[in-house]
Symmetry: C2
Subunit: 340 residues, 2 copies
């Protein structure tokens, strides 16, 4: 059974150096909490030297790790925090450079590495162009956006040129978690990276963002647009029944109904695909499978943050029919990313 | 099979009049978004006149609704937003008056109505005393707190006298959703009550609050304390595996580990019981059942916000063994609330 890690991360030396230089004081002041969490309590701790090394390795070491656990393909993207929090110019430049580095690695390991573009949506026109360049010239299969862009979510129409290009080129956008929006970060930050990061904050941030996209009418404008959500859908699928149940009620307000044509769950089913990254939990997986089906779920490790071996061991024993396991392991990704 | 609605709501004329008078300008300015959402887009719309009538009915009409769907018992509490956002004096007074009204109803319909106390935790000493009065003098079986208290969460130690009394009297606290904390409300409010309320905001608010309680060490201080969460655990159980998985990591920060003695999931299993209120969704229910078991799940409708009939119909067909269905329908509540 072919197995793809549809959510694998890398880092470039140059991007890392830029992050660490923290040059842009005004924006970074705004993101002090954000940067503090990411740098001091995230991947950059002494514990994490090995993690950093693995993020920087786009060569044989990475391939060896994949081979050891039987991962055939990695769908690669620049690790969070990405380029979304820099000034538009710096972000655009950093994204382009990271994409060029990734393109080299993809060329060196054909069939093993698939690229998703880094983008700096704070300049929507340039980000849309960069997405087009990455797909048409570099052979990438989509893009990843790390949730909020400065203080905005992507339901603001000024960002929609990016989605327009994604739909036109028929490539998905992975909406990836990042430290919660600065407005709410303080409520999570009291218990550090644990609460604000993978334990709850990442999911809260990304589920909110995804629902804002749905409620904005984005998918009525771009009905063939596909969004990837990691972590078994960031909790959104857990709420799928209640979302419809609530929006159907006569007393629900009118901010949402005039904007959307279908039941919210229908957008989740039509426009979203979820990955298993960092959620090797069978009860949660089964609930997602029963709600949206294996055609909308892709296996992912979240390499190198999570272990290939643990992820593969989980996938192999998950109690679903082989035909569905094949879908999760690679068939859904083959179709979505046109890898066939 | 006996069936209890473990999360049913009521309203008193006096509390309603006070809410509508909006006397306390300074605090209410702070809560403008909160009040706007609750009043103008919540239960007070023209659509909702029937809802209001049902909330106010603590008599035969309510009993008739229960009988029609075979609900034997309602565990009753003052509807959100509760008394948590008023000044300490007004909140304390309003809570006491609402509790006295509820006590009369409980006396009039013995065995049909069970009371949970309304509290105003903004005066923790008085709230602890009121809880003691409600349990010892009025025969209530616990209390309900509507999430944040002004700008605080209850992980602040100044509120812990309330939990101390709850543990001493061996009665649970229902941690109920309310419109998200004012700090984050703006991010949800763009799409009105839909996004900020039952669709996502309520769960995001309450899951955050519950995890803050766990991470604060509250349950190491009061190991027998029991917290009830509605809506199948407000999403927290969906994340239960990932919470442990993350907190176990060597690179996770040190804000959490020194405060807690056990794996976070162990607190969820030892100190929480969840209800099915407003979540009549079998896949989500099954995932919660598989994680925490029927001994930690109680049937609830969320009356009158949700339909008794729909809730009962769902319970009757949910594909679990009869012995587990009995647990969910009433046995877990009998044990937790000592109704046997």
């Amino acid at each position: 059974m072919r197995k793809y890690d549809t959510e694998a991360h890398f880092l470039t030396k140059e991007y890392q150096a830029y992050l660490q230089s923290r040059k842009e004081v005004p924006r970074e002041e705004m993101y002090k909490g954000f940067l503090r969490l990411w740098f001091d309590q995230g991947v950059w701790e002494p514990h994490a030297a090995r993690l950093e090394e693995k993020l920087l390795d786009l060569g044989d070491g990475r391939i060896r790790d994949m081979d050891e656990s039987g991962i055939d393909v990695q769908i690669l993207s620049l690790t969070a925090p990405g380029c979304e929090q820099f000034s538009a110019d710096v972000g655009t430049e950093q994204a382009r450079k990271a994409n060029d580095v990734l393109a080299q690695a993809v060329r060196r390991y054909p069939g093993r590495f698939i690229g998703l573009a880094a983008l700096a949506p704070q300049n929507p026109t340039e980000a849309a162009k960069e997405l087009e360049r990455c797909v048409k010239e570099l052979g990438f299969k989509g893009a990843k956006i790390n949730s909020h862009v400065g203080l905005d979510y992507l339901d603001e129409e000024k960002y929609w040129p990016i989605f327009e290009v994604a739909e036109k080129l028929d490539v998905p956008i992975h909406l990836h978690p990042v430290t919660p929006h600065p407005t709410m970060l303080g409520l999570y930050a009291k218990y550090g990276f644990a609460l604000s990061g993978p334990v709850l904050g990442f999911g809260a941030e990304t589920a909110l963002h995804a629902l804002r996209l749905i409620f904005s009418g984005l998918f009525d404008r771009y009905p063939r647009l596909k969004i990837i959500l990691g972590h078994l859908g960031e909790g959104l699928v857990f709420w799928i029944w209640r979302i419809d149940f609530t929006v159907r009620k006569p007393w629900i307000d009118e901010e949402v109904k005039p904007r959307i044509k279908k039941a919210p769950s229908q957008y989740i089913r039509d426009n979203f695909v979820v990955t298993t990254s960092g959620m090797f939990a069978t009860p949660a997986f089964m609930s997602v499978l029963h709600e949206i089906g294996a055609d909308r779920i892709m296996f992912a490790v979240d390499y190198p943050y999570e272990s290939n071996e643990e992820a593969v061991r989980w996938l192999e024993q998950v109690p679903i029919p082989d035909i569905d396991k094949e879908r999760v392991a690679h068939v859904t990704a083959d179709r979505l990313l046109k890898l066939g």
